[in-house]
Amino acid sequence: MSLPSHLPAAAPAPPEPQLWLARYGDELYRYARARVPDAASAEELVQDTLLSALDGLASFRAEASERTWLFVILKRKLIDYYRRRARHPEIGLEALDATGPTEATFFELHNGHWRGEQHPISWDPADGPMELQELREVLRRCQQKLPPQQEAVFALRFVEELSAEEICRELGLSAANYWVLVHRAKLQLRRCLEKNGLGRAATA
């Protein structure tokens, strides 16, 4: 039996699922762990990723590396994770009001200007010295305090860097609801960062 003379120069390497955990396990886990609040959820995300990849082995084309392919799956699983947390996709604006502080917390009802006690204060480093690492940690804790829908929108927009359009599709939000959620999340995070040290040294 003779081999064909026109073999492709480099046959794509077949995937090696038995080595996935050893090769990519830690990396996948760290990626997930930096994005979810607890170790158990991160482990579950890695598990779901590897199981999905096993299921989809037939569709793996080796156009991308195995590693890239696994990360694409993990990112998809993360979006699903946030979607599950946000849950109620058809929620109306009236219902949103029940999930935490609203614009009325921050702005005067009659003219929409900042309420006195909510005036953004300066975050100049001289006023509240904070290590960058500490700052990131505070932000993560603040993110976890957001109502679930705001948390999901914020994470998808500013951490996963999805577009507004993609987020609306994933979470079943109207554009108007999306902007309300982004706006409220930012207002609340800003206040939370301030409560936890930013710009406070001057007044303390």
Partner: protein, 86 residues
Amino acid sequence: MLRIISCQRATLLLEQRAEAALPPTERNSLWLHLRYCPYCRRYARQTVLIAELARAATAAPEQAGLSAEARQRLQERLRQAGLGRS
């Protein structure tokens, strides 16, 4: 045409501006508002900083990988799912 807008509106427009260019009317209204409102000028810087921090926070360097127990659990789960058959 310039229109006086509230701080509530201005801070919302700041978020929308980060996603896509604002229509000229909104852009002008926001510009005028920021010119006269020190609080919203401050907010404009801080909201960008929050976005930058959020993105950077996931790149935290020294993080532990999978624990031995977690690795064991995953191995077992993958085996059940069919890896062992091949």
